[in-house]
């Protein structure tokens, strides 16, 4: 079972490395969207500090969604998805591996970039640490929930727009608790409650989402 997870993850990472433009584009999207806000809103530090959690989280959410349409579409087009569906292992496990690979490629870089961008908003050290922690817990949930949407819209024409309409409302709890954790730190309350809830969402997203995703993929393959 672990061998299968490793095989799928290493294949997806290798593919991502051969197509670095995709990763770089999503990262630059994140950097630019976040950097536009201080320019547009003005350099008032108190105001920026208030805006920071929401802006960083919304930008991270959109950036991690950019690569979702391709999560299964490439495998679907070249026939690899059929082979994966016929592998002598539950399809849910393969989806889990693909979700983990998606997070490593599209989620983890956001976590690492966020504190650098947070400085633009005059966030303190403790708030930056909590921002990283909240993204570290929240982005896996985004990948997991996003996989369901990607599978449901597989093969649909104009699926990209439909995917965002489907997935963004489901991201709301992650956004609320993620931005809330940073907010709570800035305003002096502890972030523990928010982070615990985010952790629960991440566990739910990563370990339950693969099964409905697998069911949706089987329907798409019929």
């Amino acid at each position: 079972m672990l061998r299968l997870l490793r095989a799928v993850i290493s294949r997806d990472l290798r593919l991502a490395m051969r197509r670095q433009a995709d990763i770089v584009a999503a990262m630059f999207f994140f950097i630019i969207v976040v950097s536009l806000f201080p320019l547009g809103v003005g350099p008032e530090p108190a105001q920026l500090r208030r805006l920071a959690p929401g802006v960083l989280w919304v930008a991270a959410l959109l950036a991690s969604m950019l690569s979702l349409p391709r999560l299964f579409a490439d495998d679907h087009r070249d026939g690899t998805l059929e082979q994966l569906a016929l592998a002598p292992q539950p399809l849910g496990l393969i989806v889990l591996a693909k979700v983990i690979a998606h997070w490593l490629v599209a989620g983890l870089p956001l976590v690492l970039l966020a504190p650098v961008l947070g400085i633009q908003f005059d966030l303190g050290a403790d708030a930056l640490v909590v921002l990283m922690l909240s993204l570290l817990l929240g982005t896996p949930a985004l990948s997991g929930i996003g996989a369901i949407g990607a599978a449901l819209t597989l093969g649909v024409r104009g699926g990209g727009v439909l995917l965002s309409l489907l997935v963004l409302p489901l991201y709301i709890p992650v956004l609320i608790f993620g931005a809330g954790a940073v907010d709570a730190t800035v305003s002096g309350l502890g972030p523990q409650a928010h982070l615990s809830l985010l952790g629960a969402l991440a566990l739910g997203g990563v370990f339950f989402a693969p099964w409905p995703t697998a069911a949706a993929l089987r329907v798409a393959l019929e």
Binding site: R3, S10, R14, L15, G79, T80, L86, Q89, P90
Partner: protein, 213 residues
């Protein structure tokens, strides 16, 4: 070993075929014929378990394939219309990752040998996007060289291949039948299979299976 009874397939509003039945034992091959759009690919996908049958039943070693699930899939090797080849990866990487994901043990030497035998020696380290259509097909068919699973389902294996490569694939299928394996294939280019019993099944005109040795 593989038994299909009264299969029916409906695509959209159209019924493609109904009442398709056959039995296939070890060492036998079923050669599916029919015009374009007669449902050959649909039948093969049904036999893999990718598409559910509208009615009828498919049994493997006496049990319904839906019930067997992973047990059936571990004995099945399916090669579809699409090559399942990643353009960014080299033929060697494609072959190795396909084997790993299908939980088969294939070491690098065996993989290189397989690529050698399908005529891709010297291309093993070139990204597949630089290969021609026929070479991509060969890279996909390299999976069959060391394939030991009992049931092979091949959809148009000869497409884009030159006659020599077609003969080589036929010899692989022949060797597989001699080992006691089963094979189902569709093709519009008849290539003689060197060994085993070949049955034929025509879809569309009349769905009666008849035997030819």
């Amino acid at each position: 070993m593989l038994e299909a009874s009264n299969l029916e397939c409906v695509r959209g509003e159209r019924r493609l075929f109904a009442g398709v039945s056959f039995r296939l034992e070890g060492g036998e091959m079923l050669y599916l014929q029919g015009q374009n759009g007669s449902g050959k690919t649909s039948l093969l996908r049904m036999l893999c378990g990718l598409t559910p049958a509208v009615s009828g039943e498919i049994r493997w070693r006496g049990e319904a394939i839906g019930k067997l699930g992973e047990e059936f899939r571990s004995e099945l090797c399916y090669l579809g219309h699409q090559n399942a080849i990643k353009e960014e990866l080299t033929p060697l990487e494609n072959l190795l990752s396909a084997a790993r994901m299908a939980q088969e043990s294939l070491d690098e030497d065996a993989a290189l040998d397989a690529l050698d035998r399908v005529g891709l020696s010297g291309r093993a380290d070139l990204a597949c996007r630089y290969l021609s259509q026929g070479q991509k097909r060969r890279a996909a068919l390299a999976r069959l060289v060391h394939e030991k699973r009992a049931l092979w389902i091949l959809d148009e294996p000869y497409v884009a291949l030159d006659p020599a490569a077609g003969k080589f694939v036929a010899s692989l299928v022949g060797a597989h039948l001699q080992r006691g394996g089963l094979a189902l294939l569709t093709t519009h280019q008849a290539v003689a299979i060197p060994a085993g019993t070949v049955r034929e099944l025509s879809l569309g005109a009349d769905a009666a299976a008849h035997r030819r040795s």
